[in-house]
Symmetry: C3
Subunit: 681 residues, 3 copies
């Protein structure tokens, strides 16, 4: 029911399509190092000095123009693109390909001043003001017309440019607006979706608190309280950003050949909209990966890479990452020396084909003066420059070996925005964080299996030996069928607590949890309990604790195995089933009814992997060492990273070639602190 | 000066009064178990199944319609009450009497859309929106007309219905509005009260900060800063809700015979308005008792029962309580198995004649999907159902023995909203919580005396051996006279810190504390001190600490006994009187000038009770055991509750009958964890 | 570029200037005790009783009328000043001189009701309401006209009054407004300052995020994000308050002879505006010194006295201070007995010539009922009265000895509002508090040297042996020149971390830190690091830790001494310089690149003082004892205060006279707890 086009006025773009060119297209290396560069902030006389320093550090890509609207269109309808073409040419001379961003995250002052309807309205009812970014209204039709025009003008000029290899649309969108026009569009969206108010009233149970609507115009802007309305509000936001993005895709593709990719930079767990829907139209997803405060936690960061890779189930670009430190945390500490390099290889291991630093150099004034860079205020290298240069050399060295490869996994974790939204809207236990729940499964499974995909529940599952679905609170019928089919065909499906509680309207499934999978599991949840105190759990996995959440299960058919039980606690849970498992068809389905402590979760992961026949990609390694495998085109490459500050030794299962050390074959590697090896079979 | 009628447009209600009926009126049991039921959320075909399950659990009452406005009046002036009559009849067939709520806490969308002046304005100036509840403006005359009409239409239909035993007006009111119309009404209220601006300016000392008003229209909506204005703002809110309630009382009483009670459900300590004023017009008070997070603390909860009982100085109904857990806390843990039963008996012990669960079954969608219920989303019992059923059996068993009884006490605690508001508005020490102060007296006194009334300071006092007034910061002259008279007639009055600091205008009494009681006490407060560090206190009660607050007393007449003194601390308090006591007339008056630590407070309570000749109702019991006594009509019943998870033994002062065990006489009872005994002499 | 007059409509004031008088002018004692007195809150019949009690306590000054506008001008244009003249006369009869406050901090209700444009608009867009104070708009021209008129009327009446010794303008101003008129004035201010948008766009680097302005009217009200805009917003506020104050200075001076001083009461570290700019036009600065919660910390409080004294580099008045306690803290504890006296002498030691308590007596109603006073609600003394009376006697005793003296110092600390604003706007480490940074230098230096000036960086420096500039983040070229000149002439300048990072537009200096002083220091900062973990530092000062912030220095010329180095930490800082020092011209310049822990900072201070030849004013004293020296007119007086609760012994370097003990000569003094000695050579 997504993907409606009511917002997408198919814009007639009267620009000519790109003319053929005789130049040879610039080649993007298989593994590319880059940086965000803002030539508009500096005199042209300075540009080559910057580009030369980039080239010397092994950078091969610059990302430009994403906030340059006021320079590209200094007055309405007056376009100035020569400077940008000049920048692209100068970059090309220094062996740098260019990715162009559309500047729509930063409307010029003349635009919002003349057309104030393009400004967003805050939750408190106030109009946003010029002076920052992303202050446009996501529903404004006027704004979309301006976006289409500037994107079209740029694409017309650069669609044929051989040194421009791709396009980035806007920047980190997601801010919504609370104005009357948005409200009308939301109401139109609902009308399109439900057809009748009777249907809407029924699905939202509006008899409750006299919420019943007798006119579409009565419906408030979400989130206002009703879970049904809230979920549709998120669907509306997703659909609106889809069409917002689509307008620019259309404007660019009118002039840009297929060899120029179109991407947009997303933000990991950020959940303002459903990223699966928006990723569909892009050629490639990219994301902005910032540690912020503290240091790299490879499992915490790795799951986000895998989530992002799962949006399109293919490799991605790290189009922004921090050269040392950021400027928007409470304490903006720097990564340790060597840590940024390890972090870059970690990203490559999870499927990144590009590492691009934000930013090359700081503007002398403006909101991000304090952000980390590769050169200082005077334009000469800061200490971090050398670490980037090392990466530049290494990427050149092993890029060929990694070209065409990607991570593969026999284990998948299912993830859906609807379920995260639903639980976050009604946590019931404020500590119940659906992202943390996903992490509690990811950490032991990734560590033991050295592999993991994170995908949409409707993605093909048949290639996987094990599929975990720790947090599918919203479980529509077709999704349940798809998952049950996977089990019947021989897969092992593991469900977590709160699974299958809601239908697609955020309404309670009347059959209790796990809703449409009750029959498949052969058990149901009698009652859920938010926990203020831990509850003991024991069984074949050992003894441990349920924390925050525990459900009282009851088996309903023969052959359902009760694996774990609760111990004495609140009286209700005492001696009740906590985990059940059942063979079904050629496969197996398991329901874990509580949040388990880390040690018990590790036992559970061990059990799942053993039962499903999943083995570690490389073999046993020390805890501080991460293994990432990329394969494809007959290649089989292992990236092995020591994330600790102590030396680590890894015994290899067989002789392998050390690609960063000239290809020498070894059967054992010693990794210095934050050390990296790229090994090939 | 309360009870003005300027807001009460005496509405002419053109409805006929209820016709006489030949049916026999249904009888409400003396002790009744019930639940909130929302038939409008379900198909009629489902109703009898629900009612049958209720009957089987021993429920004898359903509470309906409180949020059903959009079903009762789906379009302006179009009333549909047949379904409700059908529900009442079906309930009656299952032996359930009905309490009908007026649905005015949840205006339909058509109403607020067509008449936006009925919506409240938030403190930030924004109009509330449809989609939640209690979003009406408490001053709107238009809204009151709609309320009167729907209440009248319902009363006309059900006033003669023998199965309808009572009415509940609205639900948990108290939200205020910050619109211009409210401001005008507040100004009119002040004009009515003060007559002249000179009087107002003088009582509020508006020479201060040039606040002086030269026109009534200049007066801002409170709370704006001046303590005088703030207190009147609270008086205005109380008066406005009184008339808001009155409009519905009048509309109902036009059709409802006296055998149908009128109540409204209040919320314990909630202090948006003065509950004594609103309770006056009701036949009975009821309240919504939720533990929320954590577990039952019987002394913390008992004081609220006693406060509620004190509103009308008679028994009350627990018209909402949690079947296990709620959904609006940060962690919504469940009560332990058996705890809800103990909590129900605890309420009965403090004067509740009805325990009604909220709610029977959750709507499939809507804001409270996660709240505890007695049946699940599929309409079959959840585990809590059985515990309710046990209560149903027990209430049937001993209802007769408790009918016509109520708690009685020789000890009273005085409580006033003016004083709580005044102190909370200017705490001076942020930790000085007037409710906590009341609790610090209540806890040891209730535990030792096994009895306590909490009443308004102007209530009759002559029946009490001991009256404590820990927190009467606002002490008008007539109140002081009333209390002094009690002392002179032989009572023992104990005052706490900050007593008698203010007059009824929240202005400082110029004679210092305790204001009009300075002469009676024979001492005054030289200076108050908010404490950042504890101060030692010692004397006949032993040695302990003053915390948060200490006043330096000075005796002014002979015969005043200095009981306790401060030790070395800030220099000012060193060796100064902390507690003084004086025989006056036939009685005694004591002033405790500091907040004392718990151990010292226990010694003080012991001293008060001993001096006043108060003995425990039943006699010594273990700490974990609570004793409640109800008497009346020659009956004398003790409810004895073990609130701990360990078995407790209680030796009785004489042989008593175990009413829950068939009436066997015993002189000792062993209470299992969370066990309850109902004993009769 | 400050001091523009665009806001100052030079008002034509048609009032006659003050007529000559034959009365002898009342003499203000050299050391004066006073109190804020509000006769308008009380009947005239009470006044003499209050004044008599003041006289008995040795008070010699009353401060009146600061909030009395509604009494002075009860209706527009109707002035009533007779009562005030009567109050001044009655005070004179009790030997009290008068300081008159203009009442402009508290506009009457009739004024803001009739001219709503005089009300400020909050950050959330709402108009302020009558009922509190300081709710006027600081840019309103209408409001300034009313201020000029009331000030002029008062000055005309009291300019010739011999008992009126001075004027206080308004009260604690600083609240800003967010209305459209203010925005227009801000834009006009910017146009006046930058002349062209090109200049503004360049200095603010508005190419960043497409912020570029093409019309002055597009510029938002700061603070909106851009550091350049933010800093100008603060400059605009300062300039606007300067002209706001100027309007009243002008109106008063038209009638008031020079012997009547003009002051305004400021608030220590409060940084809404640049106090140096506003202090310029005043004859004397005064400030409101409240400990609030807790107790006097003499070093924390002393730096504020020194800061305030530095505004005009002359003595000041403590025009408000707490008689025991305040009413606006979370816990309003009282100062210990004797502590207020010690605090008064501490202020005198730092240059206060007047201690004036706020307030004499509390209004019976109004926002500050709970504030400390000298008499109670009944008008008789509270315990604090006696302590004030002791001060009254002492001031009379030693006033002559202190008349004409002031603190002098060989050590100065530089302080600028631009730098504090810039760092607070972008702390990068949320714990990096520029005021705390100043304190970390002040504490050890003041304790060891027993002297300190805190002055503007452009103040004359040549008299100082040591100048520390711990926090000059914004360092314009002329300031750098001025400081370098000081060094070349033989001074020792010590810079702290983040020095010289920005120019006057809050733009990064392209030469990196310390900007225009890079060459003078002979080193620069390669990279700054916000620290999440401490970093070891060691060298000749010993071993310690850098906390919160550390910069990696690199020397650039020969002869730069690396004093301290970082130890192993984040890899980047390991073994890098942390402190460098260089002889330059006849002097020395030192750069400390990190925040050091207290112990190491003490070592640094010792090094600085030793190297600069600064010795303690009196000689060694116990830690709990503070020494303050005041000299002038051949006098040399030491105020020695024991701030602890234990007795302290001080051996004097030679025989001195105990002025509070009749002038006996001693060579050793024993100070009781909170004891004070005033010693003269």
């Amino acid at each position: 029911m997504h993907r409606r086009s009511f917002l997408t006025q198919s814009l007639s773009l009267p620009f000519l399509s790109a003319l053929p060119t005789l130049q040879a297209a610039a080649v993007t290396p298989p593994l590319v190092l880059g940086a965000a560069w803002y030539p508009e902030q500096w005199p042209e006389s300075r540009w080559d000095e910057d580009l030369k320093l980039m080239e010397q550090a092994g950078l091969r890509m610059v990302r430009v123009a994403e906030f340059a609207w006021s320079t590209l269109e200094p007055r309405e309808g007056q376009f100035e693109l020569d400077w940008l073409e000049q920048a692209v040419e100068m970059a090309a001379k220094r062996n740098l390909v260019t990715v162009i961003g559309t500047p729509t995250a930063a409307p010029p002052a003349w635009l919002t001043q003349k057309y104030p309807e393009t400004l967003l309205t805050e939750a408190n009812g106030r109009k946003a003001e010029h002076g920052n970014r992303a202050h446009f209204s996501f529903t404004s039709e006027r704004y979309r017309q301006f976006c289409a025009r500037i994107a079209g003008v740029m694409a017309k000029r650069f669609g044929g440019n051989q040194n421009v290899v791709g396009w980035q649309i806007d920047n980190e969108y997601g801010r919504t607006s609370n104005d009357d026009f948005t409200r009308m569009q939301f109401q139109a969206f609902l009308k399109d979706r439900y057809k009748t108010l009777d249907a809407l009233n029924e699905h939202w149970t509006t008899a409750y608190w006299s919420e019943a609507y007798t006119d579409w115009s009565q419906i408030p802007l979400g989130p206002s309280g009703n879970p049904g309305l809230f979920l549709e509000w998120k669907h509306f936001i997703s659909e609106t950003f889809r069409t917002y993005q689509h307008v620019q895709v259309e404007a660019i593709r009118a002039h840009a050949p297929k060899r120029q990719f179109i991407t947009s930079n997303y933000m990991g767990w950020y959940d303002s909209f459903d990223h699966y829907i928006l990723a569909e139209e892009l050629d490639m997803v990219s994301w902005d990966n910032y540690v912020g405060r503290g240091h790299l936690d490879p499992l915490r960061n790795g799951i986000v890479h895998d989530l992002t890779r799962g949006l399109k189930r293919k490799n991605f670009w790290l189009i922004e990452t921090q050269p040392g430190f950021v400027n928007w945390q409470e304490v903006n500490n720097a990564l340790d020396k060597g840590e940024a390099r390890a972090m870059a290889w970690h990203a490559v291991g999870h499927g990144a084909d590009c590492i691009s630093y934000w930013q090359w150099r700081s503007a002398l004034n403006g909101q991000e003066q304090y952000h980390g860079t590769l050169v200082g205020a005077d334009g000469t290298p800061v200490p971090m420059y050398n670490e980037a240069a090392q990466l530049g050399r290494e990427f050149a060295q092993v890029g060929g070996a990694l070209g065409g490869t990607e991570p593969v996994s026999e284990v998948a974790m299912l993830h859906s925005y609807d379920s995260r939204w639903a639980v976050n809207f009604q946590r019931h236990n404020r500590n119940f964080d659906p992202v943390a729940l996903l992490g509690s499964y990811y950490r032991p499974l990734r560590r033991m299996a050295q592999q993991m995909d994170v995908i949409h529940p409707m993605a093909p599952l048949n290639g996987y030996k094990l599929v975990v679905a720790p947090a599918l609170n919203v479980l529509p019928e077709p999704m349940a069928k798809h998952m049950e089919e996977y089990v019947r065909q021989g897969g092992h499906l593991v469900l977590g607590p709160r699974s299958g509680m809601k239908d697609e309207f955020n309404s309670l499934w009347p059959m209790r949890q796990p809703g449409p999978l009750v029959d498949a599991v052969g058990a149901r949840v009698e009652q859920w309990y938010a926990l203020d105190e831990d509850v003991p759990v024991s069984g074949p996995w050992g003894t441990g604790k349920a924390t925050m959440w525990a459900e009282q299960l009851k088996t309903r058919t023969a052959g359902v195995e009760v694996l774990m039980k609760y111990g004495a606690s609140n009286g209700w849970l005492d001696d009740q089933p906590a985990v059940v498992s059942r063979a079904l068809g050629k496969g197996r389905i398991t329901y874990i009814a509580a949040l388990l402590d880390d040690a018990l979760m590790a036992k559970a992961a061990e059990w799942m992997l053993r039962l499903s026949g999943v083995k570690p990609a490389l073999g046993p390694v020390p805890d501080a060492v991460e293994v990432c495998r990329r394969t494809g085109g007959g290649k089989d490459v292992y990236i092995v990273i020591n994330h600790s500050k102590a030396e680590q030794r890894v015994v290899l299962p067989r002789a392998m070639r050390r690609l960063l050390a000239g290809g020498a074959a070894v059967s054992l590697v010693n990794l210095p602190p934050r050390g990296v090896e790229v090994l090939s079979v």
